[in-house]
Symmetry: C2
Subunit: 97 residues, 2 copies
């Protein structure tokens, strides 16, 4: 399944940068013959991750498809040490077989 | 699959209200013996929809699980009549069998 560049290379963490920087990262991974690219995001960046997946799939890597989407709740440390629940998403994009 | 209350009852559109109002709507549907509840959201509300699904599943309807998640791009009319692409999500929650 994985290409020779290894397992963790194909995970892209979506944060606050403009969507196009993540789209570019994603396209680069596919061009390096990664078979799948995983987009991960938490909290408000979740909407952003869906935008990135849709732009990649519709505009740049036309033979990519959504293989799997998982949602979960992660517990993170808040600013004053308290525990916070935050939703997360994982979108697996892959080349159509 | 559907209960006697009909097909469209089980769709909840997630917008800008507080998450708990959608959680309540969702719990109400399950209590009316709906087998599945579908959460739909567009744009920034996508993160909100994931939050609602996670709260319902983890806190209120412990025997609910995520059955399916789909993402898509919808074309909507902008304020000055132009066409805008907006990402959307559809999360299907269902009672565990």
């Amino acid at each position: 399944m994985q290409s020779r560049t290894g397992d963790s290379d194909n995970i892209i963490f979506i944060g606050k940068k403009p969507a196009m920087s993540y789209v570019l990262a994603c396209v680069t991974q596919f061009n390096r013959n990664q078979e799948t690219v995983v987009l991960k995001a938490r909290g408000r960046a979740i909407s952003h991750a869906v935008d990135v997946a849709e732009v990649v799939r519709n505009k740049f890597v036309r033979d990519a498809e959504v293989r799997d989407i998982k949602i979960a709740t992660e517990i993170i440390d808040g600013e004053s040490g308290e525990k916070l629940n935050v939703s997360s998403i994982e979108i697996v994009l892959g080349k159509k077989q």
